[in-house]
């Protein structure tokens, strides 16, 4: 398909697996599930196992205090890792030609919770609280102001598909000629609202999430930031396809037949100009909820049969909600970048090994499993959000 290239030129990321590509890849490839931690401050009366970022985070500069919140500090941690290529892009293209598209489902809710609790107690807002911390648009606005970008800057928030969608839109902004480079990805942070909300939906597992298992009992929450510098150049690892669909079904439950999921995957393959047989690895949405895994396995099996090795990486980092689509695209990027000769080392599907006999059989990647995939290889990642908002991406090596 003749289309302007879309290079995922540089990656910065922070999650419970660590900060930066090297630590993240080492622990991801090893299936290190020891990085989750317990938190008792998120949901009243309940200790939750979560994928929290352990590293100390950089401080939002004082001049941008009105953006100071954990969500933006996570963004800053990821952005710091790609500062050099970002500054080079700004110098090369000029600030008016560099944009930012971020996904988030939380923005600064965790900090707003403290401000609102203060308000509930005292009827006044705390002086360190600004609306820019809470509003969704502030996630992208923060990056634009920090870097002095003058291109388009907006936040996409479509629940758990936000991060994948941000990458899809960045690719379109390059194709339209609206930008020459886009900082695109997503950030989400742990907060009481999502812990309480998913808790109320009976959707949080007591232990670690257990996707595709007969014993699966819900999600493990997580937080992360994953940001790419996206440029319209050939070479390297490319975003080759994006497929999107809506479910038209229910606010918090997917179509049990997986129709929306399958449509998103098929559209992504068409957009990438390839077929199901060309996909070497699939990063599942794999939330570990009964409904998601049932419908996703039906959709994956219908499209790929038993051929494609796949895994959910959520047992390692938790479900990072609005960041998940970007974080899991980052994991796919690391899989391709970690190429070992004619093979790709795959992130394992870390679960209790008890397959659910009610689900179609999927080829779940074992620890140390390698896919034989001569270059150029393609990999896929699924993201399905509340409200039935689906986005599947195909990443590939350049020919």
């Amino acid at each position: 398909m003749a289309r302007r290239p879309c290079s995922l030129s540089a990656l910065g990321l922070v999650s419970s697996l660590g900060a930066g590509a090297a630590d993240t890849w080492r622990r991801l490839a090893a299936g290190d599930s020891s990085r989750l931690s317990e938190r008792s401050d998120l949901a009243p009366g309940r200790t939750l196992l979560v994928g929290a970022v352990r590293e100390p985070l950089p401080e939002v500069p004082a001049a941008l205090a009105r953006y100071a919140c954990r969500n933006n500090a996570l963004t800053l941690a990821a952005l710091g890792q790609i500062e050099e290529p970002v500054q080079a892009a700004l110098a090369r293209f000029g600030p008016g030609r560099v944009g930012v598209v971020l996904g988030t489902s939380t923005s600064g809710v965790s900090d707003a919770e403290a401000a609102i609790a203060h308000h509930v107690r005292t009827q006044s807002l705390s002086p360190t609280f600004f609306y820019d911390q809470l509003e969704f648009g502030g996630a992208a606005g923060f990056v634009a102001e920090l870097l002095g970008l003058r291109g388009p800057a907006y936040t996409l928030s479509t629940a758990c598909s936000s991060g994948a969608r941000a990458l899809a839109s960045a690719r379109s902004l390059l194709a339209l000629g609206a930008c020459d480079a886009v900082i695109a990805g997503a950030t989400d942070s742990l907060c009481g609202l999502t812990a309480g909300g998913f808790g109320a939906l009976q959707a949080i597992a007591d232990g670690v999430t257990n996707p595709m298992s007969a014993n699966r009992a819900g999600i493990t929450l997580g937080e992360a930031s994953a940001l790419f510098l996206v440029t319209g150049e050939p070479g390297g690892i490319q975003l080759q396809g994006a497929g999107e669909s809506s479910e038209a079904h229910h606010m918090s439950a997917p179509d049990p037949e997986g129709r929306g999921a399958r449509e998103a995957m098929e559209a992504a393959l068409r957009d990438a100009g390839c077929g199901a047989d060309d996909i070497a690895y699939l990063n599942l949405h794999g939330t570990g909820t009964p409904l998601n895994d049932a419908m996703e396995s039906v959709a994956v099996a219908a499209l790929f049969g038993e051929r494609v090795p796949c895994s959910s990486t959520k047992p390692l980092v938790g479900h990072t909600l609005g960041a998940a689509g970007a974080l899991e695209a980052a994991f796919c990027w690391l899989v391709l970048r970690g190429r070992e000769g004619a093979e790709l080392l795959l992130p394992p599907h870390a679960f209790d090994g008890v397959r659910d006999p009610a689900l179609p059989w999927l080829r779940l990647a074992a620890k140390g499993e390698r896919a034989r995939a001569a270059p150029p290889a393609r990999v896929m990642t699924n993201s399905f959000g509340f409200g039935g908002n689906n986005c599947t991406l195909v990443l590939g090596e350049s020919a």
Binding site: I116, L125, E135, T158, L173, Q202, E244, S246
Partner: protein
């Protein structure tokens, strides 16, 4: 950088301004929009009415008005709202602060894509859909995201819906903006039928700040469209969005 698009129609809703004739009258003598109010909910499927917040009802009213059947189920959609469902989120955060339980149904309706999701459910629309926010630059950003969708699939028309309702009193003093309940919806296409419109993203002229208006930017764009003026400059925090009538 100039982007071209075709406008196939518009619809808008604000208290007391419920059809095109009313908006034509308003655009001849514009003033503040109504602060509070919602359209009658009877246009929505009965099962969805109860869960519809004021913003959802207003945005879906404008969306239904601009997009006839059977196109309603076939368009891509972009929903742009600065505040979205934030008022409902604030209510839940207050419940968390008081250590009260959260309603699961209310929680699932606080996502920023709640309006897009209910549109999809109400119309059976299975197409791609984005929901976005961009602080005071939400109007221009909504158009850019709409154009980004038309780039992905030029043959399919796109429904762009922009709207907001007043921010909850706790936070309203923190935001300086015209307070209104409104939605403006546009039916757009990459080419073919419709009136040509161009959107240019130009460097912001130094020292030019956004003019203070008594009505939201989305209403200003509609005022311009109805007034038959050749161009409209909307200076943003980073770029100036310039809307022009294109060559037919």
């Amino acid at each position: 950088m100039t982007l071209a698009v075709r406008v196939r129609g518009f619809a808008a809703w604000a208290p007391g301004l419920e059809d095109a004739a009313a908006w034509r009258g308003w655009s001849a003598a514009p003033g503040p929009l109504g602060r509070e109010g919602v359209p009658d909910a009877r246009f929505l499927p009965a099962m969805l009415r109860r869960r519809c917040t004021p913003l959802t009802r207003i945005m879906l009213r404008a969306a239904f008005d601009v997009c006839p059947e059977p196109l309603r189920a076939e368009v891509r959609t972009v929903f742009a709202s600065r505040h979205g469902s934030i008022n409902e989120s604030i209510e839940l955060i207050e419940a968390v602060a008081r250590r009260q339980p959260i309603s699961p149904a209310k929680f699932s309706h606080t996502v920023h894509n709640a309006q897009a999701a209910l549109y999809s459910i109400a119309t059976g629309n299975r197409r791609a859909s984005s929901s976005l926010a961009a602080q005071e630059d939400t109007l221009a950003s909504g158009w850019i995201e709409a154009l980004a969708h038309l780039e992905r699939e030029p043959a399919r028309p796109l429904l762009l819906v922009q709207g907001d309702v007043p921010l909850a009193p706790t936070f309203a003093p923190l935001v300086d903006e015209p307070v209104a309940s409104y939605a403006v919806a546009w039916l757009l296409a990459a080419d073919g039928d419709g009136e040509p419109l161009e959107l240019a993203l130009e460097p912001a002229a130094p020292g030019v700040t956004r003019p203070r208006r008594a009505w939201p930017e989305a209403a200003e764009l509609l005022r311009w469209w109805l007034a038959d003026e050749p161009s409209l400059e909307l200076p943003g925090p980073r770029q100036c969005a310039v809307f022009r009538r294109g060559e037919a």
